[in-house]
């Protein structure tokens, strides 16, 4: 298959960027989107040109490294997949494909399609955990967890921290990311003692990073590669209200 690519090239956070056109030729339909970029890059490298920088690692949809806007959609067409799980057979032969980085104030561009997502780490550092030291845990089966709660917590915990939710949102809000962690821990008995402190600290950190607010339009849920439900945002809001208004 052949494609025309229009790829965002940008040398650094303060450098101007622009769309550059490349031809991707002889691409097998079984190739993933990233493998298609590998082929294009191999051609650039062989000619001594600077290849397109993009982030990737596991290439099986779990590490959360890859992510780019493909024809205006985070991770491209298709539901519940990351960019590395997108295959070229999803496109039409000869199609033009526009590839851009995540666009958000809190995610500055490092180079081309690579952005700095360390804001997510700082939000987790603010409270996205249960404060237990190694060695102080009780016997695992001493606290029973209803299967329904464990399953729901797992649905939320499946977040891979890729940032597609932020990229999809017109406000560049990180609510789905924060909600997934808050909900995962609030749903489990082990997470309840710290629920108040956690939600307040994580929301404050999220605001400090410059993410926008949530206006309930649901783009994040539609583009989340792990199909994380915005019901968790409702859960986050409840946790937040509960923490704000009902002190001990």
């Amino acid at each position: 298959m052949d494609f025309i690519l229009k790829v965002w090239r940008q040398n650094g956070p303060d450098a101007p960027g622009r769309l550059v056109t490349y031809e991707a030729t002889n691409i097998p339909p079984e190739a993933s989107f990233l493998e298609m970029l590998d082929i294009v890059n191999a051609g650039l490298e062989a000619r001594g040109e600077d290849p397109i920088a993009f982030e990737h690692d596991c290439r099986e949809g779990i590490c959360g490294s890859c992510g780019m806007m493909i024809n205006g959609r985070p991770h491209g067409p298709g539901r519940g997949i990351t960019t590395c799980q997108l295959y070229m057979r999803q496109f039409k032969d000869g199609q033009t494909i526009v590839v851009e980085p995540w666009r958000a104030k809190a995610f500055p561009v490092i180079k081309d399609l690579v952005v700095d997502r360390s804001a997510f780490d700082r939000i987790i550092a603010a409270g996205g955990y249960i404060s237990i030291n190694t060695g102080s845990a009780p016997e695992a089966n001493s606290i029973l967890v209803p299967k329904e709660d464990a399953d729901l917590a797992m649905d939320a915990a499946a977040c891979i921290g890729c940032g597609a939710c932020v990229a999809a949102c017109k406000n560049a809000s990180a609510m789905l990311f924060v909600a997934a962690k808050v909900a995962h821990l609030a749903l489990l008995p082990q997470g309840k003692p710290e629920r108040r402190r956690r939600v307040l600290a994580m929301v404050a950190a999220m605001d400090a990073e410059g993410f926008g607010n949530c206006t309930n339009e649901g783009e994040c849920e539609a583009e989340c590669p792990k199909n994380i439900s915005i019901a968790h945002i409702a859960r986050l809001n409840r946790e937040y209200l509960r923490a704000k208004f009902f002190s001990r």
Partner: protein, 639 residues
Amino acid sequence: MDTTLDAKVPSGPLERKWSDYKSTIKLVAPANKRKYTLIVVGTGLAGASAAASLGELGYNVLSFCFQDSPRRAHSIAAQGGINAAKNYQNDGDSVWRLFYDTIKGGDYRSREANVYRLAELSVNIIDQCVAQGVPFAREYSGVLANRSFGGAQVSRTFYARGQTGQQLLLGAYGALMRQVAAGRVRLFPRREMLELVVVDGVARGIVVRNLVDGKLESYVADAVCLATGGYSNVYFLSTNAKGCNVTAIWRAHRKGAFFANPCFTQIHPTCIPVSGDYQSKLTLMSESLRNDGRVWVPKQAGDRRHPNQIPEAERDYFLERKYPAYGNLVPRDVASRSIKAVCDEGRGVGPGGRGVYLDFADAIKRDGRAVIEQKYGNLFDMYYEITGENAYEVPMRIYPAPHYTMGGLWVDYNLMSNLPGLFVLGEANFSDHGANRLGASALMQGLADGYFILPVTIGGYLADARLPKLDTDHAAFKDAEREAAARIEKLLAVRGKRTVDSFHRELGLLLWDKCGMSRNETGLKELLEQIPALREEFWRDVTVTGSAGTFNQVLERAGRVADFLEFAELMVIDALERRESCGAHFREEYQTEDGEALRNDDLYAYVAAWEFTGVGNRPILHKEPLIFEYVKPTQRSYK
């Protein structure tokens, strides 16, 4: 000169060794811990759990990873589960049985005391992870659920859907970020370790490249811990993440750390077959699928009918036929070799005939589609995305692929290498899996090393070590920085015609052919000609675009491939030297009449630990004899 290595295994009965040792090991007083700076490289299960636990204890920890966030380390991709001897199923499990299964699964090439400690700690790991909020699968009663895994006849594997590694890593990452917030751990993401700094024979620091601005940075510490994972990517195509590499441990090896059993590489039986030469990696389908999936090929070579049209009587369920006691749940090495054997007979299926069926039709008939979907839904989805085939209706096609490396830097019982002050954890060390790792044991080992073992043993080292104050102006740091810079300049100066990946692919194919699932003397000797020639061509004709002082992914890859090209030779030398078959190391010359691995305990019951003597020079072999006091090595049988 060859020496015999001392593993410093404590005396006393097996089941008391660790607890007695822990009670008597020297400690660092709480107020003194903050005076020590410790470097941890890698943030997978071993690295993140170690950095978090050391921070909790009060040490000053510097944590490094090449990814943009510690949460992305490759442990995240582990699917199936984690073993623990909880015996929640009342099926006769115990610490002893997990120990025994692991020793046997490793084909009697691991150290008894380490493996027993691992089995002992397995139960604490589950407690710790549950307390952290890891959402393990549960029964309707609210208790934890279990499933079976290869190489075991009990059900002791804990899991979080098909994403157990992800959930355990996020637990460890949370613990790590808590210490970052507390100021006890400083995080250095997007850094690649390029040199280990050794001062007067003691590991005292590292040189890293900042992958954003390309600058070299030096860090000094009282001890260096490497938790940098395995080297399966030496084969180019593997189930590992693209960034996984041998560089950190190879650089440490070049500075004097012994590399143990490099030829022990695990080829995982259940991966999606290769579909073309554009392919960048192979995808694993969790071993847990073998609980319900049945492996088969047509009885007749060249049978090209659609699988659903091949009647039961014309199918060969070869694992069930050859190994009735374990059936489809034989260990990985045994399954992989059997799959290769039926494909070599021309009975393989799919394009190129390199594949076998993994069929869920019986399980779906027995349990219903909903149950299978609940257990493996995400794996079936993944298979569909990659192949476009619906495994609920058509059997999956699988073929073995490089997955895990049992070999790694040599460590003693304290997880310290022969270089004082250098500790090695998780897949990066060689210690617990012998010649073959059982499923669901990698997560267990990474977390045991990081949460429970290193935090104790490193205290013992620090309490006794007399470490002079140092800073990065020391000559050893300046030398290491110069070495790293010179290497980068050399890569950029070649300005040849071939891409980095083309060399990596070629190296991978050579190794896969002659040092993969089976090896023989002729092939290995050919490799010892071919690898140095390829390495020479690399340094003559590779093209590395861009410059040193910028974000440069080609340069990152070039450095890693350069190290793989040196390391591969050691792997082949080790495979050649070990004239026996054991676990994943199958030498065609040494097999039983029915084609099983034939060990030679008289001559090879040792750990081969290699000392670096220069690129292209013959490394020196040091041996750690393996003494079995509690289990008697026997011919491994899963029949």
